[in-house]
Subunit: 349 residues, 2 copies
């Protein structure tokens, strides 16, 4: 690869000092028009563009933001990421993305390593979504890594507060959504409502299950642990959860699925057993991705405004990095999008 030309060449070519070239490049200090013009001509002539590594080292700003998440192929994370990337790019930052593949008890890459890597690369800010922070009991080494990161750079964690870590926690979880969903099912006459998908030991799951139980109780409906089947967050997990529920032989007429992917898998599993939605079973997704409106039937779902939330996240981080005022508060309360997957309780129930 050819050696790229540097600020020194541009300075020589235009007969000024490198300081002056730097000044026209950054445009923050006045430069005399004629010198400015000569420098700009040289820049154009050589198609010069400054080395961001050198610039970052000297200015202590890498103009890079780090994002660590477990699985970019999960629609929740990818839509979050798109918002973050887009706004970051508009602000002049590029994104270092780490996909940890974290799943509890799997052979994932270590999140701690990724966090250290972000520190080493001197990102100007770091966003961590998902992963061990969502565990009710994260590993000590993970917490230590988070703490170290928080003391080194602006850090935004997408999730619940963790004691002893001082950084910005942004929690998208809102309890009211689940209540609305259960109430809607209840209004259709459903009494035995299952909960499918999500993962044991994970905060989001625990909190949604808790909201579900609370909603049932407050509506005078029975809470039955046999109606809760936790697996994971993907279509295959919805398929498995629905299958397990049916195997248990408990009666139910409706189910909450933790998200669209799980709803898709559950749909498939019920269909395989000859059960129809919504005639036999009513289904609601607790978190809408972009696809559920195309399922058959179209799935009633909670819209948690993930994409707007992504914008909030990056805005808050940029505010911290740039020492700016807070300006935005955002309504991300979940909204129930009623579609075709719920119906009245079947007659024989």
């Amino acid at each position: 690869m050819p050696k790229s030309i540097t600020i020194t060449e541009i300075a020589r070519e235009s007969g000024v000092s490198i300081s002056t070239v730097s000044r026209v490049l950054n445009g923050n200090v006045p430069v005399s028009p004629d010198k400015k013009e000569r420098v700009e001509a040289a820049i154009r002539k050589y198609n010069y563009s400054p080395n961001a590594l050198a610039k970052g080292l000297a200015s202590r700003q890498s103009m890079t933001i780090g994002v660590i998440l477990p699985d970019i192929s999960n629609p929740y994370f990818s839509s979050l990421f798109c918002e973050i990337e887009s706004a970051a790019h508009d602000a002049g930052y590029s994104i270092l993305l780490c996909n940890t593949l974290y799943r509890s008890g799997s052979d994932a890459h270590l999140e701690e390593d990724y966090i250290q890597m972000m520190i080493d690369k001197h990102v100007d800010g770091l966003i961590i979504a998902g992963g061990q922070q969502d565990l009710i009991h994260p590993a000590k080494t993970y917490l230590a890594a988070i703490k170290r990161a928080a003391s080194t750079l602006p850090l935004v964690m997408i999730g619940e507060n963790i004691d002893g870590i001082s950084c910005l926690f942004l929690d998208r979880e809102r309890a009211d959504g689940i209540y609305d969903a259960v109430k809607y099912l209840s209004s259709l006459g459903h009494k035995r409502i299952a909960f499918l998908g999500g993962e044991d030991g994970v905060k989001i799951t625990a909190s949604r299950v808790a909201s579900y139980k609370k909603a049932l109780s407050s509506l005078g409906l029975p809470v039955d642990e046999n109606l809760i089947v936790l697996t994971n967050y993907y279509a295959q997990d919805g398929y498995r959860a629905a299958g397990l529920l049916l195997e248990r032989g408990v009666s139910f007429t409706a189910a909450l699925c933790i998200n669209d992917s799980v709803a898709l898998g559950s749909l498939r599993a019920f269909h395989d057993k000859g059960l129809h939605i919504p005639e036999d079973i009513s289904l609601i997704s607790c978190e809408l991705f972009h696809s559920s409106e195309f399922f058959t039937p179209r799935i009633t779902a909670l819209d948690r405004c993930s994409s707007r939330f992504g914008r909030l996240v990056i805005q808050k981080l940029l505010n911290v990095i740039q020492n700016q005022e807070e300006n935005d508060s955002l309504d991300i309360s979940p909204k129930l999008i009623v579609r075709a997957s719920c119906g009245p309780v079947p007659e024989n129930n």
Copy 2:
């Protein structure tokens, strides 16, 4: 934020020169055991980790690989990315990801800007998937940017060869898959087979449509332009394409969809018009993502081994970066996964 400690502190603390610290850090040059031990102790004591920016500047290796793609929320790109990221991480590289949001004629971020940014950040290698390179006629400025990148760093383009650009082109497209799909439909008695989704002016679409036409001809089936509806690559585009096809009022008994997302949308559109799959219409997806096996009905689809392809891409790039031997050739010929979305031609046809 506190000032992070540097190699100088470690050198002072352990009573050696920074050269020696550098040597134990990189472990390529022999260092006496006692000094080595003292340095390592100091490193542990201060939890020291070298500044990757400074290291990159001095060593001319940023240990970063750039990936530019149009939409990470598209399952094709996200699964490709996951493979790339994982293998890159194993080799010690981190990934700078740019999501250009490129769609022909949209207000996307300029791909040229992203390419320049990658050059500025001195990535050790760059992978470009999708975007303007897939157009039959890319813009001149885009081609110029690609050319500049190719002359500056190791570049892998995922797509067809472009004249005048010397970099590694890796094309995943294989003609035989489409033929197999059409032949399978033909064997079920279908004669009027539609093509849904994809985008006009885009190479992949053009090549799949060409393969489709060629397959029809070679099987003695009629080619009818009215049976081809190009829109785009997402579920909503499949929905729209199927709707447009029905509006045209041409008769058909089967359809090829350009990918799983389009198949999902088409499925929904046909269902809305009271048409059943596979009883009324047989459907095949020309590119499998992870979800079609959960659709109702399960969709017969071509498996193009995208994830294995991702591994190939990063391996080739690393080979170039590290001047290594080529070792891997990979079978990525498409395989038809027969599921439940195709049936015999309805009797009245």
